[in-house]
Amino acid sequence: MKKPELLVTPKSLSHIKDLIEAGADAFLIGEQRFGLRLAGEFDIDQVKEATEMIHKAGKKVYVSCNALFHNDRLEELDEYLKKLQKIGPDAILFGDPAVVVSVREFGITIPLHWNPETTATNWFQVNYWGERGAKRTVLARELSLDEILEIKENSKYEIEVQVHGMTCIFQSKRKLLGNYFLYRGQVMEVENRKENKNMFLHDKERNNRYPIYEDMNGTHIFSPNDICLIDELTEFFEAGIDAFKIDGILKSEEYITTVTKLYRQAIDAYFDLGEEAYDEIKDDLYEQIAAIQPPLRPLDTGFIYKETVY
């Protein structure tokens, strides 16, 4: 059995250094012009610097291009892909098939990872996009444990599962926060709060708080809880899930670093010392995360044990 890759989302170049020390195996970076809902913004020069730094440490770096592109952004996407080809990250993430067309057109040889978020729901799709260049799929977060295991069993390509953090549950092209302020005649608020990422919607009936922000891709709304599977990893280990993602969106650098260290311990315990060693420490690892959880952000297990109807 091989250890799953521990993939993290750094917020800055100096944060990458901390995360290498914390035991991360792979890093997801990029900028909102091309990638959706990233923990940090890395312009192309920083992508280059990060790639060198990460490769020197013997780790992997992936660049996100998973936005939904409109025609007016296709040209800059092409230029970006050509620059990435020169920089040489280990993968490019995509959701929009336009990326596949451009990659073919310009002979980009960097492997693709398919990450459309909500729509990667069955193993057939993993193999379909695999045959079209995606050596890995990042699964939708709305899947149960059994569904994930069955997908892994039937996939010819790598499977990545988010094990920790917030998940996006909605993206609109409309500027829903700005529109709300304008509706109430608060023109100043639109400008004042444009970059704010500390707002949330409260749903009284469920007493849930959904983080919300706007950027150039529109309005994004997030899950009311953070997934935390640090004490639920045994079946993923056994199934050979290829990568575990810790999504650090809307979290501090210190939080992401600490959580990374704890997942590193969990993975190493299981693979270096055995299942019993993992079982012995997993509750304590969970407690350590619970202790640093930011206010208003409860932990849960996402859809792993939840039944969804339709």
Binding site: H70, V101, Y128, P224, P295
Partner: protein, 426 residues
């Protein structure tokens, strides 16, 4: 309004007059066999229906294979074609039975399927290659390269994302030779389709498999989180945060859409009533036909706009076709809109000799009520209901049983499928 550029490729000169010969398809929703028949009768070129599996809208009374067969046969008599929506994003458990289902759809004469998941695309190519494959708006195709990707994969038509504007459609048509379908009327997602799982998180109902509970229509309170303190960003009495979009209405953009060469104009609403389908389809039919017959002298008639309002239960807007929608295209606070006219009766028969109409009650009405009749064969007219009789020819004053048979005298001739509306105060 955007500038309208005449498209020469869709025109011909007939009897010295420039007319448009490449008319777009008018595509109607049909949530049941009855709705299908109404949509076809009121002028749809094509209808889309849902089967018992693999489609969104799991609450609609979807078609059995036998009903599909009957629907296809009825439609064929009018030269109308039928598409079936199979646009879920499947989970592993939804894979079983797909091949048999697609085979059965093809065997009853359906023309194509509307699909989002490559699982269903590839399975269809394998087991039912005679079916056209249309890419659902659920894939949120927003640019010409994405459209090119799906064309290269062998698809026949792309239903564009609802976020695509007129100029973007023009570029897509220019760069890729494939049929393009866009929405012209009806309720809309506020999110990029397929990219919203609010429903999964709030009610454990899977939006991408037909379970959407429309959480985007709910009210929320907006706060900011300052070091764990919840600071409200609203004052007492303010309308709460909302993201409910007004319904799409592009009747006035139809000439522009025809000139862009859009191949199919889609009306949303498989859950809507036969009255809604009849009203919307008949109006769009008139707009498309009038423009194509004489584009130079075309004008939107006031009566068409008023007619559309008869079945509107929400405010309407043009969304992305005419540019980025502002807050004015969303609904905040109290926003129910009640039309002045209710659908009250469905004409089953008319006896020219006795001038007696036989209709099926669809809503309360009584002797003395002001009503109007409409339908593709007649000019809309209003009258006052006189003495009524029930099925057993007993005199009645009130029609208050759902689906009861009612007869009364109407001087102008009527036809089966004509509809009656009753006026009431707002």
């Amino acid at each position: 309004m955007l500038q309208l550029i005449e498209n020469e490729s869709i025109r011909e000169t007939i009897n010295g007059k420039r007319v448009i010969t490449k008319k777009p398809e008018l595509l109607a929703p049909a949530g049941s066999l009855e709705k299908l028949k109404v949509a076809v009768h009121y002028g749809a070129d094509a209808v889309f229906i849902g089967g018992q599996e693999f489609g969104l809208r799991s609450n609609a009374d979807n078609f059995t294979i036998e009903e599909m067969r009957e629907g296809v046969e009825f439609a064929k008599k009018y030269g109308t074609v039928v598409y079936v929506t199979t646009n879920i994003f499947a989970h592993n458990e939804n894979m079983a039975g797909l091949e048999e289902y697609l085979r059965a759809i093809a065997d009853v004469g359906v023309k194509g399927i509307i699909v989002a998941d490559p699982l269903i695309i590839e399975t269809c190519k394998k087991v039912a290659p005679e079916l056209e494959i249309h890419l659902s708006t659920q894939q949120s195709s927003t640019n010409w390269k994405a459209v090119k990707f799906w064309k290269d994969e062998g698809l026949d038509r792309i239903v564009l994302a609802r976020e695509v504007g007129a100029e973007e459609i023009r570029q897509i048509k220019e760069k890729v030779d494939i049929e393009i379908e866009t929405f012209v009327h009806g309720a809309m997602c506020i999110a990029y389709s397929g990219r919203c799982v609010l429903s999964n998180h709030m009610t454990a109902r899977d939006s991408n498999r037909g379970g959407c509970c429309q959480s985007c229509r709910w009210d929320y309170d907006l706060y900011e989180n300052v070091d764990g303190n919840e600071i409200p960003l609203f004052n007492q009495g303010d309308a709460p945060f909302a993201m409910s979009p007004k319904d799409l209405k592009l009747i006035e953009s139809i000439p522009h859409m025809i000139e862009l060469g859009i191949d199919s104009l889609k009306v949303e609403g498989r859950m809507k009533s036969i009255h809604y389908v009849a009203t919307v389809i008949s109006v769009y039919r008139k707009v498309i036909d009038s423009y194509c017959a004489d584009p130079e002298n075309f004008k939107i008639k006031r009566e068409w706009l008023e007619e559309l309002d008869r079945c509107a239960n929400r405010a309407t807007a043009s969304a992305f076709f005419e540019g980025e929608p502002s807050y004015k295209q969303q609904m905040y606070g109290f926003h129910a809109k009640k039309p002045e006219w209710d659908f009250a009766g469905f004409v089953l028969d008319y006896d020219e000799e006795t001038q007696m109409v036989t209709l099926q009650q669809r809503n309360y009405f009584k002797t003395g009520d002001k009503v109007e009749f409409f339908g593709p064969e007649i000019d809309t007219f209003t009258m006052t209901v006189g003495q009524m009789w029930n099925e057993d020819n007993e005199p009645i004053e009130v029609a208050n049983h759902p689906l009861q048979i009612v007869k009364f005298k109407v001087e102008q001739p009527l036809h089966p499928y004509n509809m009656m509306r009753r006026w009431h105060k707002k």
